[in-house]
Assembly symmetry: C2
Homo-oligomer: 326 residues x 2
């Protein structure tokens, strides 16, 4: 275990973990006041920044440090994918208690490095300091060809509504982890998705390049919370068909449906396609299922087909830190 | 006082404070998954990210919220200035306890807006969540003409070493605030500098455009901590003349000198100029004093002229969160 007696030593340790990835795409990385970045010619920069806080977004006693490292980058990169862009580099701000330096930090940096490699996204810089809890803030820069970005605001009434993958699986994995007392089982798909989500970068990029999606976002807080955001951005409503939801396996139908509607942390893509072009969308994109779950409607309400076959309001019950009890 | 019952409402409140500045330089700002950014033609992007944490970087009971808002942006923008760049947009990640929503948040956003306006730097997005303490992480993007950036690595033996403004003044202001029991006196220059530092953007840009500085960084942790970083970046040493330090007024010479050597939070620029070009440097740049404080030396040691006239090692005693007691 290395002893980090000062901030410079910690910065060096972080840089050491990322040595092989430095200097390739970035003009200048760690070690100066700031980093320099330039996208490919004809491309613009996409930027996003996300919290990942001990106690709110992960538990240090329950989540493997490797997963914390993977997930803090993956979920921020998902915001880039949600516009059709490709993540390129990131800044890591991390604040740590002394007890987390050493074994925990090593595990964390290992997971972060694996995510960075898998996403082909290099560490460009950041800031370190001391704190009682582990605090992480990740900023990701990506690039997209000018004019190809898919916004939340492009959905039109009549557009068909799609999601990638399975909804509610990550929440299902979280529950399993809780029930297990924190024992990690990577053979379990749901648990793997909770711990090591894979942002849908290739799908997002393909939808941008083909100009198939009229609007898009990623599902981080649950469909019932995120879909109203897309609808607000486009000034439209939506109607969801619960029969169509791609739900997790291994539980009764109603529980699976509730998870698919309200479970967070899936990082799947939610996108709209005009009905005239929907036939161009494959049922699967490189093994990833694409499912039509409803359609965009005029007006402003987000509704779901109820048990009696009639549309009823879809109540937002996804994860929102400001709705939790104090 | 507005009641923020969920995250979306908080995001809207932040956006409301920045309405007038949106959509001008950014292709897309708050409200989508990510923001789009493109520098002027011929320019590259500079990026930096900084922590600003309650308890470590500020005290909620002592520092006016307006100052917290100003300073969190100003100090991150200073890293852009330190390379000769111009800040253009920023991402704000803020985590808040319920008690800080309302009056505190309003004050904070007011100060942040003033800093953003003063720097001509627009809010592009970010992330909000709940937390027991106020946590802030600010990412600033700037631009610089390709190839004009001033790095830490360009100093050569014989270069003259300069600083802008006065050193130790911000630390002096912090001490005054402590002694005062938190009573803010904006007529006091030192206190104003502690609460509302002004990043040296114009000076940095001018040094980059004129190609006068061979190496540069900003002073955030104190000269005795930061100068060794510049020297390490350039693989050189330095010799500081304590008689030349631009020290704060109103105290005995030795105390003033200690503050100038070790006091943090000044956000002045530290830069090197080759002796052949030093005559091109004015004594003042738009009312801001430029002072030669020493020179770059061969070898690796950072030294200071001692009382007996002989060089002795300059011990780093600036602010480092990892050197504090637990």
């Amino acid at each position: 275990m290395t002893d980090f007696h000062d901030e410079d030593a910690l910065v060096k340790e972080v840089a050491r973990h990322f040595l092989s990835s430095r200097g390739r795409k970035l003009r200048l990385g760690i070690g100066d006041d700031a980093a320099l970045w330039k996208p490919k010619s004809g491309f613009v920069t996409i930027l996003t920044s996300d919290w990942f806080l001990e106690g709110s977004h992960f538990l240090r006693q329950r989540h493997p440090p490797d997963s914390v490292g993977w997930k803090c980058l993956a979920r921020a990169a998902s915001d880039i994918a949600a516009m059709g862009g490709t993540p390129r580099c990131f800044l890591l701000n991390i604040a740590l208690p002394a007890a987390a330096i050493g074994k925990w930090l090593n595990g964390f940096l290992g997971g972060l490095r694996r995510a960075a490699k898998s996403l082909d996204c290099v560490l460009a810089g950041g800031d370190t300091t001391r704190s009682e809890r582990v605090l992480i803030s990740v900023t990701v820069l990506g690039e997209i060809r000018e004019g190809q970005e898919i916004l939340r605001s492009g959905a039109r009434p009549g557009d068909l509504l799609y999601v990638s993958g399975t909804l509610g699986e990550a929440e299902c994995g979280l529950r399993l982890l809780r029930k297990n007392g924190g024992r990690v089982n990577l053979k379990n798909i749901a648990m793997r998705k909770h711990l090591y989500p894979e942002p849908r970068v290739e799908l997002g990029r393909w939808l941008a390049e083909t100009n198939l999606a009229t609007a898009m976002m990623d599902l981080s807080d649950g469909l019932s919370t995120d879909l109203p955001r897309l609808c607000a951005g486009s000034k439209v409503g939506a109607l969801v068909d619960p029969e169509r939801l791609p739900t997790p396996h291994g539980m009764d139908r109603e529980s699976a449906r509730q998870l698919a509607l309200h479970g967070g942390d899936d990082y799947e893509l939610l996108f709209c396609v005009s009905p005239a072009r929907a036939s161009l969308l494959p049922a699967k994109f490189r093994k990833l299922r694409l499912t039509r779950i409803g359609e965009i409607a005029a007006g402003r309400g987000v509704r779901i087909i109820g048990k009696n076959g009639k549309p009823e309001p879809l109540r937002a019950a996804g994860w929102d830190p400001f709705r939790q009890e104090d």
